[in-house]
């Protein structure tokens, strides 16, 4: 897993209303012992901070099973391209 920063990105399927999104975020936060750090964007993408000590890989498989989730992946870090 490249550049694991302990965060996961969850992309929800579009056309979910706000209460439904909130419910899903709460569910994922509970399931993953994670904290929502970025509310879902207009594109339906949310970011969660996973609690220290949790294994991100196992969480991804769990979350991926949720029908409203389009994809889930670990957050990665970009770096400025200064020499």
């Amino acid at each position: 897993m490249p550049d694991d920063v302990g965060r996961i990105i969850v992309k929800f399927r579009t056309a979910l209303d706000a209460p439904e999104l909130q419910r899903l975020c709460d569910e994922i936060a509970r399931m993953a012992n994670a904290r929502l750090v970025r509310l879902p964007s207009a594109s339906g993408r949310a970011v969660f901070q996973v609690a220290a000590g949790s294994t991100v890989g196992a969480l991804l498989d769990e979350i991926r099973k949720l029908p409203s989730v389009e994809y889930v992946e670990p957050e990665i870090t970009d770096h400025s391209a200064r020499q």
Binding site: P2, D3, V5, R7, I9, K11, R38, S41, A42, S43, R45, V47, Y71, E73, P74, E75, I76, T77, D78, H79, S80, A81, R82, Q83
Partner: protein
């Protein structure tokens, strides 16, 4: 000997005015142009070694630009030397065809910024000639996703070269919230290269002087940032562009591994006609980083590598089939925050290296292109950038320099550009001249409005066209028309070929439609397979990487190789036919 008269020094470079060959001209006093004879057959001398010999003859001599295919080079020397004495001294050298002053005769706009003389990159990419054509408009938008911009603690623009009211739009700080204050320095440097205030008698020149700049911060104090922030910033800038009907280009001088979130972001921008210029990375020839590496997947992504001041690829620049173009990226002077930041650099202005620095020059140029051609799609803009780039070696594509080093003036003229061939002596074009092929012996041609497509044959000596010339439907000759032969028979009413976009292959310009795979009998069988993998034109097939083509099109290695070879042959034969 010519009298030397003191003159202006507008751009910080050494320019004076005086008499040269009976005319009053402005010329550079710190270098001359020399043209080398071809080395004798069997000689082990190279143009480079001959150049070094010439430089050694002069006090403080050095080669400012090594000879290209034409044998022409720029030789710089100690500014205390008299340029006319230098010309006289070198004119007796047997290895030279000629030596002459470098006369300033084309640029109408030479910016007066005090540090402009230290910005070598603009000389290489012909920025002054480009600025004669376009300095930017408010209809184009430059988005910068980086570490922010120089701001006061209260969030106000504070850099003297980045503070035009209304031009620099402060978007979201995805790292800390609030205004995107630069705590690293990288973002301010990048913003200055693309769009510093210019011709303001202060500091540096940006590639684009006018277009609005939208700043988002995703890179933290150490220059690191998350992919979700990058994606959100791309969406924010794209949405702003759409809402304000602006033709946008986003700069991202960063990157890292691949993920779905970044791919989604590129697709989001693509769907809205927004271009993304991204750095290829600085791993000393390592693989291209993402999102730059999406350039082969999305037609709105431009992957930018770096070159040095001798027009070679920088040693640190990454390589691969994803490299779209290269641009100057070493020792680049630009703006720095007015306060101390993480990057250990001087306040206000300093030099940095990296593909990070090459990318915003291209971004600024793309914004100039979008300003000049607001009707062009993002694909047309990218094609123009690619097709006008200067090849830095044999072939049309190289994993190190991609499609070539950007050429600002040529890129801006793309679409109204004409490439005369041998023996075209004088040609005057007007606004709407879109496409013209010349052959040998075209002496004088004048076009007026709406000339779209004209083909001349041999022995055309003087022709004046008026209102409408399209397959020569209507032509008026002047009293000096001597002989003219048209290749198309009267009544030949074949429809226009393509979609109005142009591709340059070597010295030949094609309308892109002419190169559609389906037009070539030999390739019709595989047209659909190639289309499925995004190859629709002959030049795209010819430039394909064989291994990659084999993989994505599920062809055997030998079939892929044969296809690429066939495409090159067809291109070559069609180029010859059009000469």
């Amino acid at each position: 000997m010519l009298p030397k008269t003191p003159g202006s020094n507008r751009s910080g470079r050494r320019i004076e005015e005086g008499q040269w060959e009976g005319k009053r001209v402005r010329y550079f006093t710190d270098h001359v142009i020399v043209k080398f004879k071809a080395p004798p057959k069997g000689s082990d001398r190279t143009a480079r070694s001959l150049s070094d010999d010439i430089a050694r003859q002069l006090p403080g001599g050095r080669i400012k630009r090594y000879p290209r295919a034409t044998g022409r080079a720029l030789v710089a020397f100690d500014p205390k030397e008299n340029v006319f004495d230098v010309v006289k001294r070198l004119s007796s050298d047997d290895s030279l065809v000629y030596v002459e002053l470098d006369v300033v005769d084309s640029a109408q706009i030479a910016p007066n910024d005090t540090r402009y003389g230290d910005q070598w990159s603009h000389g290489i990419v012909d920025s002054e000639d480009a600025w004669d054509l376009e300095t930017g408009t408010a209809t184009a938008l430059i988005g910068i996703i980086d570490s922010g911009i120089s701001l006061t603690a209260g969030g106000a623009l504070d850099h003297p070269d980045l503070d035009t009211p209304g031009r620099y739009i402060l978007g979201t700080d995805f790292v800390d919230g609030g205004t995107p204050r630069d705590l690293n320095g990288h973002g301010t440097h990048v913003a200055g290269i693309a769009a510093a205030e210019s011709n303001n008698a202060e500091g540096v020149v940006g590639m684009n002087w006018v277009s609005p700049v939208y700043i988002c911060r995703t890179l933290d104090t150490n220059g690191n940032g998350g992919s979700a922030d990058f994606a959100d910033a791309v969406e924010e800038i794209s949405d702003y562009a759409v809402a304000h009907n602006l033709q946008a280009v986003i700069n991202y001088s960063g990157g890292g591994p691949d993920n779905q979130t970044k791919r989604d972001a590129c697709q989001y921008a693509q769907a809205r006609g927004v271009l993304l210029c991204a750095a290829t990375g600085n791993d000393n020839g390592g693989p291209v980083i993402f999102p730059a590496a999406y350039s082969t997947m999305f037609d709105n992504v431009i992957a930018v590598g770096s070159t040095d001041d001798d027009d070679t690829v920088s040693s640190f620049s990454n390589v691969g089939p994803e490299v779209t173009v290269v641009a100057p990226g070493r020792d680049i002077l630009s703006t720095m925050p007015t306060y101390a930041v993480t990057i250990p650099a001087a306040l206000n202005y300093d030099t940095l290296d990296g593909t990070s620095m090459a990318t915003p020059l291209v971004t600024g140029l793309v914004a100039l292109m979008r300003s000049r051609h607001p009707g062009f799609s993002h694909v047309a803009i990218r094609d123009c950038l690619i097709n006008t780039a200067v090849k830095l070696g044999p072939g049309t594509f190289d994993n190190a320099w991609g499609n070539g080093r950007v050429s600002a003036e040529a890129a801006l003229r793309c679409g109204d550009l004409v490439f005369p061939t041998l023996f075209t002596l004088f040609t005057r074009f007007t606004t709407f001249t879109l496409y013209t092929r010349f052959t040998r012996f075209t002496y004088f041609t004048r076009f007026t409005m709406w000339t779209r497509f004209t083909k001349f044959t041999r022995f055309t000596k003087f022709t004046r066209f008026t209102i409408f010339t399209f397959f020569t439907n209507f032509t008026r000759f002047s009293p000096f028309t001597r002989f003219q032969r048209f290749t198309r028979a009267p009544g030949d009413r074949r429809p226009p070929i393509g979609d109005g976009q142009f591709v340059r292959v070597g010295k030949t310009v094609f309308e892109r439609g002419e190169l559609a795979i389906g037009r070539f009998r030999e390739l019709r069988k595989v047209e659909q397979e190639l289309r499925n993998v995004g190859i629709r034109y002959l030049h795209e097939l010819a430039a394909s990487n064989r291994e990659q083509l084999s993989k994505v099109a599920r062809l055997s290695g030998s079939d892929a190789e044969a296809l690429v070879k066939l495409a090159k042959q067809l291109l070559a034969s069609n180029s010859t036919q059009q000469q």
